[in-house]
């Protein structure tokens, strides 16, 4: 029993309190119990003694369980024993021996049985379902990408731009072998001629040439180049710095030293290489010419003037003056040797001049008395002309040259006198100019021709003295006609700005022609370009024929003689009245005539009245017509000549309600027809297309133009961008995770919601792109 209770599990300890009971009832082995409980046994024997010492029949004790239990053998073992209170205190709940078993049973019942293994089919299904859920989840991570792509305004395929790799020829060739007889033969030939077949595909010579330019060398060369560039930049910086130096003294010294150096070099060169020396000489000559053309040594500067004043009293100043003059002379002296060489070079430039000036001695340029340093009063004028022709720049150089020439002519005279003479000369010139308006006029006449060449010089020339002889000037004027056509072209272009509007304009233009010229001259001082343009315009007008022009010019000159220079100079610059072309005026005239012609031609048509009539008709037609339901003869006499009674007419003539007011009732020039045009209706959309919900939406989508006529280039490109762009010859690979940069991030967060809302969304994205397309 004990063992059984132990074996049943951990509940044995709890049962110990009840162990005596089974034994007392005669189930267990008594000896064992007695040994265990000695006190119990003693109490029993004591009870036996108390009963009187009478030995009762020995009670058979059952020691082992048997099937037949004798009723006599039932002992009342406990009868003689003494009761102990403490024992009675113990609970005597009858506990069945089966309780533990029962408990176990219930426990076993509570436990669920391991189910039977599933059938193969069902097991597979479970696996499939799990796999499907997982897979669809995996695939669902593409949801966002797919939606994005469906909505995208533009998709460019292939998604991944591949970089074309070029396999080197050597690699390709090395893998290739000659197999066919033909190939082998060719290869044999190549071998014979020692042509390289495989890597590196270079002949020995090529290899050598490659070797020649090794990496080291290339590096070296690069370094050299870099160095050279750096040096150059330093040098440039230095030059820039030097150029910025403002000190005049510095520059003077520098120039002087340079000149000296150049001279020295030239001399050296002359000895060693005469050819180069010649070239150098030419260069020097060029420099000299430049110097000569500059105003530096003309005693015009501040310093020179102050010296001139001081020269009377100060010896040093005088010396300085002399020096200066000497320098001037030196400069202006023409080198003899160069002259014949110079001529052919200049020839093309002075072509026109030489052609137009046949009267002037041709040898003048060769033996210019001015250049020779032989001043001669009477010869002055032609020479001036010559010099004009000689030097390519006619206007600019002239005035300076004149000045110089004058100075040169007086070089012979003693220094003091020279200065004085110079001044006197100048004064004289000024007087002469004022006194002889003829020459002045000539000069003025000449001016227009020159204006084209240099507008800026014109004023200075006028202001300055110009000892040009009238005849000569006249000639110049005549030559001016044959000026290069280019200048004329320019003139023509700018001419079309002005216009003559009326007949009066032309008349005034003709009468004012001469006055204008003066005005233009005056204006030339104030606003040279404008004046020049006006002048040209005049010229152009007169440009019909050269002879004509000449004839016109002469009286103009005569008139001008009366105008004093002072008056002209004092005169304020006036706005030049725009002269105009008579041609234009004629057109205008014609226009007036045309109108007349048109009115004459359409005299019978009154369009406005017609329109009014038409509109009235349209209004009438638009009004609802009354319905006449009168039937003659019903309810009264009928027949020819009988009219239905007014009562009847009143009753059966149905008047419709008045039409709504016309839309064009306030627009006298417009007829708005509200009738549906069947021809137009064929082109119109009759019902609202699918993705649009309201007709306004649809109309708006149509209203906005996309063409380049209404949109800027950029907007046009944007509006007409195609939705899918593919490139010819490019393989489009299926999309992959690498193509989508945010795929990995989207997969984690976006997969779930995408799956949840997917059933609803599923159709939406398919529709959306279409909507966007409009």
């Amino acid at each position: 029993m004990e063992a059984a209770s132990r074996g049943s599990g951990g509940s044995g300890a709890a049962l110990t309190g009840w162990r005596s009971l089974p034994k007392r009832q005669g189930f267990g082995s008594g000896q064992l119990a007695d040994q265990r409980y000695p006190r119990c046994h003693q109490a029993r024997s004591f009870l036996c003694e108390l009963s009187g010492g009478v030995t009762w029949r020995k009670l058979a004790e059952r020691t082992e369980a048997s099937v037949q239990v004798s009723e006599f053998n039932v002992s009342c073992k406990g009868a003689g024993e003494k009761l102990v209170l403490s024992e009675l205190l113990q609970p005597i709940r009858p506990k069945s021996a089966l309780s533990s078993v029962k408990k176990e049973l219930t426990r076993a019942k509570q436990k669920k049985a391991v189910e039977l293994p599933l059938s193969k089919e069902e097991a597979k299904r479970v696996v499939r379902e799990a796999a499907y859920v997982r897979t669809s989840k995996d695939v669902g991570k593409w949801q966002q990408v797919v939606l994005q792509n469906r909505r995208a305004e533009q998709l460019v395929f292939p998604l991944k731009q591949e970089i074309a790799t070029v396999v080197p020829l050597e690699q390709m060739a090395s893998a290739w072998k000659a197999r066919t007889p033909l190939e082998q033969e060719i290869f044999g030939l190549l071998h014979k001629t020692q042509q390289p077949i495989t890597d590196p595909l270079l002949t020995p010579e090529e290899a050598a040439s490659l070797q020649a330019m090794s990496l080291e060398e290339a590096r070296q060369r690069r370094a050299e180049l870099q160095k050279a560039r750096a040096v150059q930049s330093y040098y440039e910086a230095k030059a820039r710095r030097e150029k910025k130096i403002k000190s005049k003294k510095y520059h003077r010294v520098l120039k002087k030293s340079k000149r000296r150096k150049a001279l020295k070099e030239f001399e050296l060169l002359h000895k060693s290489d005469p050819e180069a020396a010649l070239a150098k000489l030419e260069e020097l000559e060029q420099l000299r010419m430049q110097e000569r053309m500059s105003l530096k040594h003309q005693n015009k500067g501040k310093w020179a003037r102050s010296r001139a004043i001081m020269a009377k009293y100060d010896l040093e100043a005088r010396k300085a003056m002399q020096e200066q003059l000497a320098r001037n002379k030196e400069l202006t002296q023409k080198v003899r040797v160069e002259l014949p060489e110079e001529e052919p070079g200049d020839a093309p430039e002075e072509d026109l001049a030489s052609v137009t000036l046949p009267t002037i001695p041709a040898g003048a340029s060769g033996a210019n008395p001015w250049m020779l340093g032989k001043p001669s009063g009477p010869a002055e004028e032609p020479e001036v002309q010559e010099s004009l022709g000689d030097i390519a720049v006619p206007g600019a150089a002239e005035s300076k040259e004149e000045m110089e020439e004058e100075e040169v002519s007086e070089e012979e005279v003693s220094e003091e006198e020279a200065l004085l003479q110079d001044f006197a000369q100048k004064r004289h010139m000024r007087q002469q100019r004022a006194g002889s308006p003829e020459g002045q006029g000539e000069e003025l006449a000449v001016l227009p021709q020159r204006v084209g060449a240099d507008e800026t010089e014109a004023a200075s020339e006028l202001a300055g003295n110009s000892p040009i002889h009238p005849i000569c000037a006249e000639e110049q004027a005549s030559t001016g006609l044959e000026q290069p056509p280019q200048a004329q072209e320019e003139v023509l272009l700018s001419e079309q700005l002005g216009r003559v509007r009326t007949m009066e304009d032309v008349e005034t233009l003709a009468s004012e022609e001469h006055v204008e010229e003066q005005e233009q001259l005056a204006a030339a001082r104030a606003e040279k370009p404008a004046a020049a343009r006006a002048e040209k315009r005049v010229q152009q007008q007169e440009g019909g024929g050269a002879g004509d022009r000449r004839a016109k010019k002469l009286p103009a000159k005569k008139k001008k003689k009366m105008i004093s220079l002072q008056a002209v100079l004092a005169g304020k610059s006036q706005e030049v009245q725009c002269p105009s072309l008579p041609v234009v005026m004629e057109e205008e005239e014609g226009g007036v005539d045309q109108r007349g012609v048109i009115t004459e031609a359409f005299a019978g048509d009154d369009v406005v009245a017609d329109f009014r009539r038409e509109k009235r008709k349209a209004e009438e037609a638009g009004k609802p017509q009354p319905v006449n339901l009168v039937l003659p003869g019903w309810g009264e006499w009928g027949g020819t000549g009988l009219k239905p009674s007014t009562k009847k007419i009143k009753r059966f003539l149905l008047k419709p309600p008045p039409a709504p007011p016309r839309k064009d009732r306030h627009l006298p020039h417009v007829i708005i027809s509200e009738k549906r045009n069947i021809h137009a209706a064929a082109h119109q959309v009759s019902e609202l297309p699918f993705p649009f919900e309201r007709h306004q939406q649809f109309e708006q989508s149509i209203r906005m133009p996309v063409g380049p006529t209404w949109n800027t280039q950029r907007a046009f490109q944007k509006l007409t961008a195609p939705r899918v762009v593919t490139r010819a010859g490019h393989i489009i690979q299926p999309i992959s995770a690498e193509d989508v940069p945010d795929m990995t991030t989207a997969a984690g967060s976006g997969a779930k919601p995408a799956l949840e809302i997917a059933p609803k969304r599923q159709e939406q994205p398919l529709r959306r792109p279409r909507k966007r397309a409009r």
């Binding site: 796999a131 996309v706 046009f716 007409t720 195609p722 490019h730 489009i732």
Partner: protein
């Protein structure tokens, strides 16, 4: 060029644009000449085709007499011919790297061939030949790994290096007509069997996932190369069904226009459209999200089109048909081939935009939608329309005359699905 965009100077913008759109539409129709050339050389009907994954100008085709031809599209010539199988070439696919290709035939073999023609003196021989127990009806190669799948009575997944399949997937007992790898999630497979079902498989777990049973048998399916979970199935009931693999209960779109069984389908590489080949001797192009085709191609001599492919540059369509020819079409019928000047391109874009903008206007729509059809197809379309209308009317009547709610309205999408088996 400076321009004045003042709207007052450019009046009547809508009518002017409308005129332009009308002209553009007309021109589009005038220039719609999609047929480019026909590649002839096969001596039996063309049964299958494969694109070269790396070269646009190379196309492979297998015929019903077991002959495989490799074509150069730029020269429009056959550059190589192989007698690959005895009986039909059932299926073929190129390896993803483009160095070799696989064919399966009626002679129960899977053969791997070199893409390059054999060197001088070399025999035309396959690299590997696997002799199977049953006839293979289709083959497809994995997009990234050296694994391919064949189908026959079951779907077998093979390692290229082994002669026995890595695993065999079965679900049901009928023969499977086509198997396709998903190009994006490359472990996914789709197959269609003759017991009217489409089954999806997962290669990782080597289990089937789900099965859809349609009204009629599906001939082929094709995965969208830009949308991982979308595939389109070409069905015997003249329709194509685009499914989202996550929601197989009903297709996303039913594409109906064919008048006979659809035999093959291929997606454009942009994933926006697909082309289908039908037994009704025509090829149609469908936008993925539209129920009807935008284009139909047919010629007098073209018989039942068995196989069709959209080239990887999205420009051309190839179809192989019963009468032994492969035809090359433009994917966009009126497209000008060759290099376009920038001004031409701008004009083209503008015209496209205008056509799109005014597409609802009846005249423009009428012109844009006009297509010529052979009489047989035209009549069949008419006939089927009448039949459909009759069926609809009958259903309406039945609904009208029975207890409300007793005859439910079944949407077109759901109509064709018999069941979804988990």
């Amino acid at each position: 060029v400076p321009r004045n965009y003042d709207p007052a100077l450019h009046p009547f913008e809508v009518p002017r644009e409308y005129t332009r759109a009308l002209n553009a539409t007309k021109l589009e129709r005038v220039f719609a000449k999609p047929f480019l050339s026909s590649l002839d050389g096969h001596r039996d009907g063309v049964n299958c085709m494969a694109k070269h994954p790396k070269s646009l100008s190379t196309v492979l085709s297998g015929a019903c007499d077991g002959e495989v031809k490799i074509w150069n599209l730029t020269r429009r010539q056959c550059i190589r011919t192989i007698q690959a199988h005895e009986g039909f070439v059932r299926g073929m696919c190129a390896r993803f790297c483009g160095t070799s290709f696989f064919t399966v035939g009626d002679d129960k073999t899977v053969k791997q061939w070199k893409m390059e023609s054999p060197e001088y003196g070399e025999e035309e021989e396959p690299i590997h030949t696997i002799l199977g127990k049953t006839v293979y009806t289709g083959i497809d190669h994995h997009w990234k790994e050296a694994v391919f799948a064949t189908c026959g009575p079951q779907v077998d997944i093979w390692d290229e290096q082994r002669t026995s399949p890595m695993c065999s997937l079965t679900w049901g007992f009928d023969s499977i007509s086509s198997v396709k790898f998903n190009p994006i999630e490359t472990y996914l497979l789709g197959s269609c069997a003759s017991d009217r079902n489409i089954v999806l498989y997962d290669m990782r777990k080597s289990t089937p996932l789900k099965k859809v049973i349609l009204n009629m048998r599906t001939n082929t399916l094709c995965w969208n190369p830009m949308e991982a979970f979308i595939f389109t199935a070409a069905n015997e009931d003249y329709n194509l069904y685009t499914f989202d693999m996550r929601f197989l209960e009903s297709p996303v779109t039913v594409h109906m226009d064919h008048v006979s069984a659809v035999l093959d389908v291929d997606y454009s590489p942009t994933g926006k459209e697909f082309v289908s080949a039908s037994f009704d001797k025509s090829v149609r192009i469908f936008p993925v999200d539209k129920g009807h085709s935008r284009e139909v191609y047919h010629t007098k001599r073209m018989q039942h089109v068995i196989t069709v492919k959209w080239t990887s540059d999205n420009k051309y369509i190839l179809c192989g048909s019963d009468e032994m020819n492969i035809r090359l079409w433009k994917a966009n019928a009126s497209e000008k081939l060759g290099v376009l000047a920038p001004r031409e391109k701008a004009a083209m874009n503008y015209n496209q935009k205008l056509k799109e903008k005014f597409q609802y206007h009846p005249q423009i729509r009428r012109i844009a939608q006009h297509r010529h059809l052979p009489k047989s197809i035209f009549c069949q379309i008419k006939e089927q329309r009448i039949m459909r209308e009759a069926r609809r009317r009958k259903e309406l009547n039945r609904r009208k005359h029975s207890k409300p709610g007793s005859i439910p309205v079944v949407s077109e999408r759901k109509k064709h699905i018999v069941a979804v088996v988990k």
